[in-house]
Every structure is written in structure tokens, then in C-alpha cells.
């Protein structure tokens, strides 16, 4: 219902305004998580056991909200000027490992096992490392929430994968164990800025702006996100070109 309203409203909004609207909705989620955790603490009279677990949850929620803000700021900066970014040789696999390591405590709260799979030895790519890191980070966090909101399971799996694509590109992305989640999520996220022809009412709460920002970052830096598969799991991936010089590194 909300999605239809926002999608309809998006016709009157610029893509950036639509992104801000989605961002404000998604930032409400970590704030509501913190609010409810604090209320639970108060109900328990701030006993030691609950305090530790609630404090951990509040920290993860706050970090998640801040990552969204960081990603948004980076998107704005890239939109202003890509030339100011410092490009360097980046090992995609190392970025995926870093993101998985950082997000593991957050994933645990959503009963999600994070895995990294890098197929073969990949040539480093010449790119802006923070952009790749944050794009994969917010895409992963969004899909962690999205798949847990989609269907109730004891455990979920999320795979951060990379492999050599056709031509001189490395395909990297995030893949879910929930069938059909990724392309619906992407189309729904894009529908917020009026880019999709068929807005779908399947956008999981709290996932829109993360997917949208990751898509904008990937579009500006490499290629837009697209539905892809990796080791039998379906997800969203971008393709990063390998520079000719680095192929010999």
C-alpha cells in the first residue's frame, strides 16, 4: 500500500527526492529498533543480562543507520564528481571478506549465515575501494533484512560472491537463499524513482533505499545492479571492468 503511494508520488519527485523519501523510511527502522530495545531495557529494570544484549542490538542498529547515511553522502559526492575519487588496485575478494566480517554480528541478529565465495584467482581492479565496500555493505545489509522479512525460517544464508565474467569484467554481488527475492527487490527499489515499468508491491520494509543507493553507486562507478546467480543462489550483482594494465599485475 505504502509502496503504491510512494511509487505514485515518485512521478512528481526527482530521483534524489524519491531517494530521500525512501532513505527517511529506512532510517526509521534502526531508530525504531533502538527505541524498542531501550523500552525493553526499561521494562526489565536495566538488569545486567538484558542490558548487554540490548546494547549490542542498539549498536548494530545505529551502525546500520550510519552506513546508510555514509552511502548516501558518497552517492552525492560521486554524482558531483567522479574525478575527485582516488582510484587504486583493489582485490574484490578482500573487500567481500571485509564486508562479511563487519556484517557478521548484524547478520546473526537476523539468523543469517554470511558466506564469501570467490571463484578462481581474480585480477585486482582499478577502482575506488570505499565505493565498492559500501555498495556491497549496504546491499548485503538490505538483503539480510529483506530475506528475513520475506519468509520465516530458522536460518538464512547470504552469499557474497565474485567471479570472472564474460569479457574483461569481474562480476560481484550478493546472493540470497530466498528464491525470487533479488529481482523483485531491485525492481521495487527502482520503482521508487520511477525507473521501473512495473512497480511491484513486494518491497520488504527497510530495504528500499539500501538497494537503491547500492544501485546508484554501482551505476555511477561500474554497471547498474542486475539479477544474477552464483552457486545456485540468486542475487544482485554489478560488473567491474578489469583495467588492461592490471591484468599483468
Amino acid at each position: 500500500m505504502r509502496k503504491k503511494t510512494v511509487a505514485a508520488d515518485s512521478a512528481k519527485m526527482s530521483p534524489m527526492q524519491a531517494l530521500l523519501a525512501a532513505l527517511s523510511d529506512d532510517l526509521a527502522l534502526p531508530l525504531l529498533q533502538i527505541k524498542s530495545a531501550l523500552e525493553l531495557l526499561g521494562e526489565d529494570g536495566f538488569n545486567k543480562k538484558t542490558t548487554r544484549s540490548s546494547a549490542e542490538q542498539m549498536l548494530l542498529s545505529a551502525e546500520n543507520g550510519l552506513q546508510l547515511v555514509e552511502a548516501y553522502k558518497l552517492t552525492l559526492r560521486i554524482n558531483r564528481s567522479v574525478e575527485t575519487l582516488a582510484f587504486e588496485p583493489v582485490a574484490v575478494g578482500a573487500v567481500l571478506q571485509d564486508v562479511a566480517h563487519q556484517l557478521t554480528p548484524y547478520a546473526k541478529k537476523y539468523a543469517t549465515d554470511l558466506q564469501v565465495d570467490v571463484s578462481g584467482k581474480l585480477t585486482p581492479v582499478l577502482t575506488h575501494q570505499p565505493s565498492l565496500h559500501i555498495a556491497i555493505q549496504i546491499l548485503s545489509a538490505s538483503l539480510i533484512r529483506a530475506q528475513a522479512a520475506q519468509v520465516q525460517q530458522k536460518r538464512y544464508r547470504l552469499l557474497l560472491g565474485a567471479r570472472r565474467g564474460s569479457g574483461s569484467v569481474i562480476s560481484t554481488g550478493v546472493y540470497s537463499s530466498i528464491e525470487g527475492l533479488s529481482d523483485k527487490t531491485l525492481r521495487s527499489a527502482r520503482s521508487l524513482t520511477g525507473q521501473a515499468h512495473q512497480p511491484l508491491p513486494s518491497l520488504p520494509p527497510g530495504a528500499a533505499s539500501g538497494v537503491l543507493i547500492a544501485d546508484m553507486l554501482c551505476s555511477s562507478m561500474w554497471q547498474p545492479l542486475r539479477a544474477a546467480a552464483h552457486n545456485g543462489m540468486h542475487g544482485l550483482a554489478t560488473a567491474i571492468p578489469v583495467s588492461k594494465q592490471l591484468r599483468f599485475v
Binding site: M1, R2, S36, L40, V151
Partner: protein
């Protein structure tokens, strides 16, 4: 039989709410998927439904219209606990009475204790 059927898409918020409701003496069955919630209700009608309206796959309002279409479930009270404001709900809020929505709680302005009090008014705690 579950006393409270909670349909909430976010796991962290659901966990906090479940803890508060269980401490208040209620049995809680939590579902993220409205279709799964229908199956649960089919196996034993809940005393009250607490539902967010923004859900993955299928909206809460659509769920409520289907739920109310079954004669056995027309009188089960519903409490909406949503991050959608009245302003955002203006196109559908007129239908709340028809859907037997007993109370609407806006998440940013509602404490978990407020919600527990509302449910207490509707149900007697299982331990009482």
C-alpha cells in the same frame, strides 16, 4: 491456541515486542508472512491480531480484507502497530472500523508497554 498473533516483518522489533508481551503473560505467535499467518489462524484462531501494515510480498490491509472475508474470523480483534502515519493512511483509514481494527498504534509514538496495555484490555493474560 496462540493468544496474540503478531505479524511483524522486522525480526529485531518483533523479538523486543515478544519479550514484553510474554512478560505481560501473553502467548505470542510471530509470523512475517501474512499467508503463513492465515495458516496459523486456520489451525486455531488467535485472541487478537497485532499487525504491521508494511509487509513483504503482501500488504497488511490486503491481508485484513481477506481475513475478514472468512465468517469465523470476523470478530477477532485487530490492533494495527505500524510505522505508517495517519497522514499516510488517509486513503484506507476509513476502512479500519469495517475491518474491526480496535486500535491503531503509530510505532514512533507508541511504547511497547502501551501496546501491551491495549492487548491487556482486549485479552486476559494467560497466567491470570
Amino acid at each position: 491456541m496462540s493468544q496474540v498473533l503478531l505479524i511483524e516483518s522486522d525480526r529485531l522489533i518483533a523479538n523486543n515486542l515478544i519479550e514484553v508481551l510474554q512478560k505481560a503473560g501473553f502467548e505470542v505467535n510471530w509470523q512475517v508472512d501474512p499467508q503463513a499467518a492465515l495458516d496459523i489462524a486456520d489451525s486455531g484462531p488467535p485472541g487478537v491480531i497485532v499487525i504491521d501494515l508494511v509487509l513483504a510480498g503482501r500488504g497488511g490491509i490486503e491481508f485484513l480484507y481477506e481475513f475478514r472475508s472468512y465468517p469465523d474470523w470476523r470478530d477477532i480483534p485487530v490492533v494495527v502497530f505500524s510505522s505508517l502515519s495517519v497522514e499516510e493512511l488517509k486513503e484506507v483509514i476509513w476502512g479500519f472500523e469495517h475491518l474491526n481494527v480496535i486500535e491503531y498504534h503509530y510505532k514512533p509514538n507508541t511504547t511497547l508497554a502501551d501496546l501491551a496495555r491495549t492487548i491487556s484490555r482486549i485479552l486476559q493474560p494467560a497466567s491470570a
